[in-house]
């Protein structure tokens, strides 16, 4: 057979690694044919709705459901009393604590689930919610974690022994009834010693405010208990459907093979959809009780008030350096407000997530981190909002400490970073707080970024602007925000990473069809990342079949192999690696088939793009399509028919993407309005699978960073009322507020990942928040600003200017 197309054509035809393949998901989404959980309608389906607590802390003296039950169309009203015989009135959290499914004697935060109404339609359910009478006795409310640790008010009576002693929690000893854990990394004594003897020490306290991932689609589920076959099907907004199946089985007692969990299309997750929520449990129980399908979908206010906050870290830092600016030590203490239940979504052994990545991109010889988790009368959660576990907090902390140290040293913050970067030749690098960074070339990325924005020119312009402001010629100041971040993603090695005991591996199963197309299923689930497009690209390059002929399926636990799901930028580092490894198994068998067909020894053929060729005579070959067909229609001695493979991938290490961001901002000191003039983002995510998708992820992550830095907040008043529970008060940027971003990249592959990829979805958020914040703070630095807390909304920026006397 004569081969008329060139090798380049064949590579291009695969639409494999590195090409900006258009997304296969888009056909259905652009035509309104996505299938989200609220689109699911089943015959006889009922609607569930919650009665929620108006109080942040109160005893529930009585619940009267009579009037609600009397309303035509109401089928059931569930309270904790109904769930107790099933042992479902409380449920375990991902963090080793337990959480009320429905209020059991008291409520601990505003918006807490008190009763679950089930009715024929959503309007009747909502009417019935109003008819449930709950008698509350208000208790003293604590929204401040520092006060909580001093208070006599016990929030969680279930965690205090009858004799008043405080039993250990899931993470060791507790010092106070409202204390959850102390978690430490590094060496405190050695760190204190270094800091005590240092030339220069900078200290700072900062509050990383509470916020919320707020995906456009809220959380929800549809449970359908088929009593005839004993099978429960649960559709829902699950970032980790397989874990949900295991949890549902453990909670309900239904054997795991009789539970099918399906994540349909998910309208954004950003961490919000990792947790297990009372709504899921109640929809299951209601379906078991009524024998018909039950849908629960929260509204926006419920979403912001009850499912999954993020951050709420009070961080205290000390950083020491020589006079020349070489950092010698870092000390960090965090008071972590976890709300009413510890429902943080972290790997089990990491109650403060990977906060111990807080030495950042710098070669810091000695460091210490201590974190105290505290209960308050606020919603539970503590999810990683578009970041790996607590990495946004860690990177914000170190990138602010660097800026403050630069002020202390009277040194340019860009130069201070350069002096302290971990050097290229130091990788793999073991950081003072324990992580082994896989690869990096920070200085190259930094130099490229500073050159791209003409950093020196910007500083000169800023100096001129300061003078012009002082002369009264302008009311706008200029800020240059810098950040250099190292992420830690791809959780993670089973030896130290698990969720509820499930090791954090991931998986891929491939079946090649006789005609040379394929289906591959993975343990992850896309929420907009475009897995159906990009995983097919990884496979195309590995197995030599076009991405266009590979279907990717995820999210159905009856068909997909077990995996830990999609969050913490783990899909590409873990499931992507599983895909590559499964692809290599396919290739290994294909090699034997090719050798048989070509009548040569296995070792005499080699893989070339889309075929196996006889070494030294490339005109003799079998394409992967031909090999696939042969796998099904030829009896090959010593080989089973068929061509399929499965891989469960346990990553040997995390991956460490990094990047260099610069933001240039003009701020009107009289209105407090910041104007983003320029945002340059250089990302190094290792091997790039689809540049178009990568850019899209960066634009989106930066925009969520802009939101968090410049206004987005879940705020409470002293009574525990949520002040930002609608989109009127909770800031989501529109197209009008968002700038165009410049994206750039370097490529430093991960040495341990099969294709060298590191993950990218969360980098822009992790690096973006400190960059926006640093831009605001840098604008006021020449006027005496050292640190102000986020969010930098117009009012707070105005206050900063006012406090600095700039309105005088």
């Amino acid at each position: 057979m004569k081969d008329e197309i060139t090798r380049e054509d064949r590579v291009a035809g695969l639409k494999g690694l590195g090409c900006s393949r258009k997304r296969v998901e888009d056909a259905r989404f652009t035509q309104g044919k996505g299938n989200y959980v609220d689109d699911i309608q089943l015959p006889g389906m009922l609607h569930g709705d919650f009665v929620r607590s108006p109080y942040a802390h109160a005893r529930v003296k009585s619940i009267n459901i009579e009037a609600a039950m009397a309303l035509p169309g109401v089928v059931a009203v569930l309270t904790a009393k109904d769930l107790e015989p099933l042992n479902l009135h409380w449920m375990p959290t991902l963090a080793g604590d337990k959480q009320m499914v429905l209020a059991d004697g008291k409520v601990l935060f505003q918006g807490q689930e008190v009763a679950f109404v089930v009715a024929n339609d959503r309007y009747i359910a909502a009417d019935a919610v109003e008819l449930v009478e709950v008698d509350y006795e208000e208790l003293e409310v604590i929204v401040d974690p520092f006060k909580s640790l001093q208070s006599d008010v016990v929030l969680r009576e279930d965690l205090v022994a009858e004799d008043g002693s405080i039993p250990n929690g899931a993470h060791g000893p507790r010092k106070h009834p409202n204390h959850i854990f102390t978690w430490e990394a590094g060496e405190e004594e050695a760190t204190n010693q270094v800091i005590g003897n240092a030339d220069v020490v900078a200290t700072e306290e900062m509050y990383y405010h509470r916020t919320h991932p707020c995906p456009l689609e809220t959380c929800g589920s549809v449970a359908s208990m088929d009593k005839v076959n004993g099978k429960l099907t649960l559709w829902g907004t699950f970032q980790a459907p397989h874990v949900v199946r295991t949890v549902a089985s453990l909670l309900s007692g239904i054997e795991e093979h009789n539970i099918r969990v399906v994540s349909p299309d998910i309208g954004g997750g950003f961490g919000n959809k990792v947790g297990v929520y009372p709504g899921y449990v109640c929809s299951i129980v209601a379906s078991i009780v009524t024998g018909v399908p039950v849908k629960w979908v929260e509204d926006r206010m419920e979403n912001l008030m009850s499912t999954a906050f993020a951050r709420d870290y009070w961080m205290k830092g000390k950083i020491s350096a020589t006079k020349e600016g070489k950092i010698t030590g870092l000390h960090c203490h965090v008071t972590a407000d976890h709300g009413a239940f510890d429902a943080c979504a972290d790997p089990t052994k990491f109650p403060a997530g990977f906060m111990n990545i807080c030495t950042g991109s710098y070669d810091i010889p000695v460091a210490y981190l201590g974190v105290d988790g505290v209960y308050t009368n606020k919603a539970p959660g503590g999810v990683s909002y578009r970041c790996s576990f607590r990495v946004t907090e860690a990177v914000y902390f170190i990138e602010r400490m660097i800026e403050v140290l630069a002020i202390e040293l009277n040194m340019d913050p860009a130069e201070l970073r350069s002096i302290n970067f971990i050097k290229k030749e130091q990788f793999p690098y073991t950081a003072a707080l324990g992580w082994e960074y896989d690869s990096g070339d920070y200085q190259t990325a930094w130099d490229k970024a500073l050159l791209a924005v003409d950093y020196k020119g910007l500083r000169a312009e800023q100096a001129e602007r300061v003078e012009a402001f002082k002369r009264g010629e302008t009311r706008k100041v200029m800020g240059i925000g810098l950040s250099f971040f190292t992420e830690i993603v791809g959780a993670g090695p089973v030896k130290n990473c698990d969720i509820l005991g499930m090791g954090m591996f991931d998986s891929c199963e491939i079946r090649i069809h006789p005609t040379g197309s394929a289906v591959a299923r993975l343990g992850t689930i896309s929420q907009g990342q475009g897995h159906a497009t990009t995983f097919a690209q990884i496979l195309a390059t590995e197995i030599g079949l076009s991405a266009e002929s590979i279907t990717i399926e995820e999210g159905d636990t009856d068909t997909a192999p077990y995996g830990l799901g999609t969050y913490g930028s783990r899909s590409t580092p873990v499931a992507g690696a599983a895909a590559a490894m499964a692809g290599r198994k396919i290739r290994a068998k294909a090699q034997m088939i090719a050798a048989y067909l070509l009548e040569v020894h296995d070792n005499d053929v080699e893989f070339d793009v889309d075929r196996f060729v006889v070494k030294g005579s490339p005109e003799q070959f079998k394409t992967m399509k031909e090999i696939a067909y042969a796998a099904y229609n030829q009896a090959i001695p010593g080989l089973e028919p068929g061509l399929e493979a499965v891989s469960y991938y346990d990553p040997p290490n995390m991956t460490y993407p990094f990047g260099a961001y610069v933001c240039v901002m003009d701020i009107d000191v009289d209105t407090g309005v910041p104007e983003i003039r320029r945002f340059y983002a250089l990302d190094d995510c290792g091997t790039r699978i689809n540049p178009m998708v990568i850019e899209g992820q960066i634009h989106g992550g930066l925009t969520e960073a802009l939101a968090v830095a410049l206004g987005q907040e879940i705020a409470y008043d002293d009574m525990g009322n949520v002040k930002t529970a609608t989109l009127m008060d909770f800031f989501l940027p529109t197209a009008w507020e968002v700038p165009n971003y410049e994206t750039d990249f370097t490529v430093t592959p991960s040495p341990h990942h099969p294709i060298g990829a590191k993950g990218v979805g969360e980098s822009p958020h992790v690096g973006g928040v400190p960059c926006f914040s640093n831009a605001v703070q840098d604008a006021f630095r020449p006027f005496g600003n050292r640190h102000t807390n986020m969010p930098h909304d117009h009012w707070r920026i105005w206050q900063t200017a006012n406090n600095l006397g700039m309105h005088d």
Binding site: K22, Y123, P215, L216, E217, R300, V693
Partner: protein, 164 residues
């Protein structure tokens, strides 16, 4: 319930007649009575625009229109914009320029963009950004949405010129 009213709606060129409580929101009538699930619910307070449809020639947030107010109206949803054999230029353009990720805002966003380009066939970037400011996207950061709409506008204008 006896407090239901007859509602007549023309949706995507098709006439529908059904019973509904006057308080029922247009978005739920579309989604749950007529099985038109392209428009989505994101906030129920008019902020996010996931439910955007065209009603009597104007972009509206169908989560804050009572079905009673919509009685007799002509409504276009994403389902009425292009079809699998002939996508609207904007649908093509969103695919081409990666103007969507999770897809939840996309039906409302494209429905709004169609109307926007009817209102202003030659918009600047600023016009586009202002024109879609009622539609929130959490995934894309808008950059590629703006690009998609501007590119569709010039393509549509070029097609118009060629036809003349």
């Amino acid at each position: 319930m006896s407090n239901k009213m007859h509602v007549n709606l023309t949706v995507n060129g098709e006439d529908h007649e059904f019973l509904a409580e006057p308080r029922e929101l247009l978005i739920y009538a579309l989604r749950e009575k007529l099985n038109i699930t392209g428009p989505h619910v994101g906030c129920e307070t008019s902020h996010c625009g996931a439910c955007t449809v065209t009603m009597n020639g104007k972009s509206v947030k169908s989560c804050t229109v009572f079905v009673a107010q919509a009685n007799g109206a002509e409504v276009t949803t994403i389902e009425g914009i292009g079809n699998p054999d002939a996508l609207h230029i904007l649908q093509e353009s969103f695919k081409e320029h990666h103007g969507l990720q999770c897809g939840y805002c996309t039906p409302g966003m494209i429905t709004r963009a169609v109307k926007l380009l009817e209102e202003n066939s030659n918009p600047t970037e600023e016009d586009v950004r202002f024109g879609i400011a009622g539609n929130i996207c959490r995934c894309t950061g808008y950059q590629n949405i703006v690009k998609s709409i501007l590119s569709a506008a010039s393509e549509m204008n070029a097609a118009k010129e060629a036809a003349q």
